[in-house]
Symmetry: C2
Subunit: 436 residues, 2 copies
């Protein structure tokens, strides 16, 4: 008989436990099911899950320590805490006025002429002290955690100089320090061309060289990022430029990610597949050939339907087709000041259902298991299974479906990060049930 | 010199005060502006506003009582609390399973055959005790108030028998009792045909007669509703049936409202204009002639973009065109278990901007001043001006634009209902700052 694992935290009383456990997405695999355990229970020790199963088997399966804490969730549904695998959540400046102007009919060119657009964010980020960037990012994470998110991928890309990109990534690192949230960082120096690189082809080429020769080595030297991303688009970087940047990142140890096919089809999706990108994000205009390449490569396709809605575009990414062709699908907020300032990952999941063709369980897997893979956080988050962190979203409802059904409504009862005994007493945030 | 009004509540520290004050919508009037007072302050007494103006003039304009309470909102934007002018928020039963089936591709006929659809709600409402209906509705209002809503129009239409319609309306009345929220009630016996009326033309005619001859007199006798509404649609009631019902309601003192042109153009919009309806709701397929008739009649056009999104329809109502043709536009959640279970009026306002063509200030007016008119609550709510209730939404932002910009995010700092001195101490809800 296997010895029963010791536990310092027991979660009981769940109507259903949505584990999302099982194999990570792989070439040609289906989206996977949500792995629901009716009346399931969880046991954890020092913040990590040690046992998952039907509550009826809890007593004979786990040995609670004398100090163990027992949380009865009162007949509610329990899911893995959500993972937001595509965010730009470190920024400064205010683009609400630009939004109002856009609604009133101003063109992108007019807004840029008025000092708006992404370059206004770059200017504000360059001028902001790191402490303020970190504080504002942390405030955003706090609000996002109310919706159930405890894992965040965070991109740079509003600095666009070596010094400013490094400062932004340091702010991203600092923002999560002392919190129970897990983050990964992505270097996105090739987000857009800075103003000083827009004058000529030579200036443009110098900027790409700077990204490759100065920024990537500095980022890697300071261990500030795990991924290297490029925005491939007519208004951003070409596929050839992306290849150079991603190759340089790979050589330095940064795994590729790509923004591709957002506004028109492009060869970026196949480039990402060829280079072994962990994810390709946007994909509104991906072709069947693109999707087949992604499926074969096992890359995660990331839906960002909030950007489609916020930019008032008609064409949402076709998540249904992605899944049908074997692409593991994730969904994320894309939170950023220009194209989607949304802090609600559940709203994105709802849009993935209502506009991208996902089912309820597919959307849940998309914001947990598959998102954790895309964010590089799958060792810790994304499912409820032994070895993972005990980060749980308790819904204020008996059925997981409520999270998708209750459009725009807040259905968080509680977020458990299971850190009670892992974090020393007296630490600034020791046991953070971020909501209720 | 006019004597300074006495006040028991002072609201100071606003970055901007969005009054929405001014004339109510009228024939051919523009949507109106938001009436912003920079650094504006508010004074109230016994729950009603007595003065509004620049904070710099507060001291010389108002005489605070010794017991006056002073709330400093710390540089935040202050708006009128929101009014939700189209809700079906009294219901029983659970249609999350039906939602999941629909996403998975089930047709409406399959769902109905499985026992889903609106008739499943009717069955559950008929079986539910009034106390449970009221308690669940109140819980919904509590959650909706987090988003800033303090005024609700509530429709019947899930009883579909005289007894059940009356019980639903009594539950709506009871749900708000003892709370600071204001409600109005609408009799919607002609929401859909009950199962027992679906067998034949004769049964259908008998149901319409029942609505006219039995339900309307009983509702009026018990003063349970102020409005009479009909769902005009191929799958609901014809324009001729609607005319009979609305005429009977008018004769009994109920002001008309209409659900029209949701799924196809129909003559319902013009009927509503002809009969002096206070609002016509949905309007996805309204023609220019329809809108001109509404503008001339001064009826409010109510956008329900959440239903368009939730039903996965392509065509949103064209709010821009409505305003251009002189129709005062409101926006509402339509909260109901089948076609839009959303509790977030701000999300609806955002969709009105992103999908229906409204500007920031137009969307604010749509969810405050114009919504109060459509809900019959304009004597009390919808603007910040002397005589109205002191119901205020304090945003967690310095600019009102943030409410529209922060897609799906919760931006409520605090909701003030100003009831502190109007409600006796010890009352169950005496001073309800519903959030934070």
């Amino acid at each position: 008989m296997t010895p029963r694992p010791a536990a310092d935290l027991l979660i009981v009383g769940a109507s259903e436990l949505v584990t999302c456990a099982g194999a990570a997405p792989a070439a040609g695999a289906a989206q996977g099911d949500a792995g629901v355990v009716e009346r399931g229970a969880v046991a954890a020790r020092e913040g990590r899950i040690v046992w998952v199963g039907p509550e009826s088997q809890l007593e004979r399966s786990v040995a609670p320590l004398g100090s163990a804490r027992r949380i009865d969730v009162g007949g509610r549904a329990v899911l893995p805490a959500l993972v937001d695998c595509h965010t730009h959540l470190v920024w400064a400046g205010d683009r609400t006025g630009e939004f109002a102007r856009r609604l009133a009919g101003a063109s992108y060119a007019e807004i840029a002429a008025e000092g708006g657009g992404i370059l206004s964010t770059v200017e504000a980020v360059r001028a902001a002290p790191r402490e303020r960037l970190a504080r504002d990012a942390r405030a955003r994470m706090e609000r996002m955690a109310r919706w159930g998110t405890t894992g965040f991928e965070i991109k740079s890309g509003y600095g666009l100089s070596t010094a400013a990109e490094l400062e932004l990534l340091r702010a991203a690192r600092d923002a999560a320090a002392g919190t129970p949230w897990l983050t990964s960082r992505t270097f996105l120096g090739a987000h857009t061309l800075p103003r000083e690189a827009r004058g000529s082809a030579a200036a443009r080429a110098r900027y790409v060289d700077l990204v490759i020769e100065e920024m990537i080595p500095a980022v890697v030297d300071e261990r500030l990022a795990r991924f290297c991303d490029v925005f491939i688009d007519e208004h951003a970087f070409t596929v050839d430029e992306a290849r150079r940047v991603l190759d340089a990142g790979l050589a330095a140890g940064l795994t590729p990610k790509v923004h591709a096919a957002q506004l028109a089809p492009d060869a970026g999706v196949r480039l990402a597949a060829e280079l072994g990108a962990v994810s390709v994000d946007h994909l509104e205009f991906a072709t069947d050939d693109d999707l087949d390449a992604l499926a074969e490569a096992g890359a995660v396709g990331v839906l960002l339907p909030g950007a489609t809605l916020f930019l008032r575009m008609e064409r949402f990414a076709d998540g249904r087709r992605m899944i049908a062709r074997g692409v593991p699908v994730a969904v994320a907020t894309d939170v950023n000041p220009g194209s989607c300032p949304s802090e609600s990952l559940p709203l994105m999941m709802q849009l993935a259902c209502l506009r991208c063709g996902l089912s309820v369980d597919e959307a849940i897997v998309a914001a947990t298991k598959n998102a954790a893979v895309a964010a590089g956080l799958a060792d810790d988050l994304g499912s409820i299974e032994p070895g993972k962190r005990c980060h749980l979203l308790v819904l204020d409802a008996a059925s997981r479906t409520e999270l998708l059904y209750a459009l725009g409504s807040l259905r968080t009862h509680r977020v458990i990060t299971g850190a009670s005994s892992a974090v020393p007493r007296g630490a600034p945030i020791s046991d953070r049930d971020v909501f209720m």
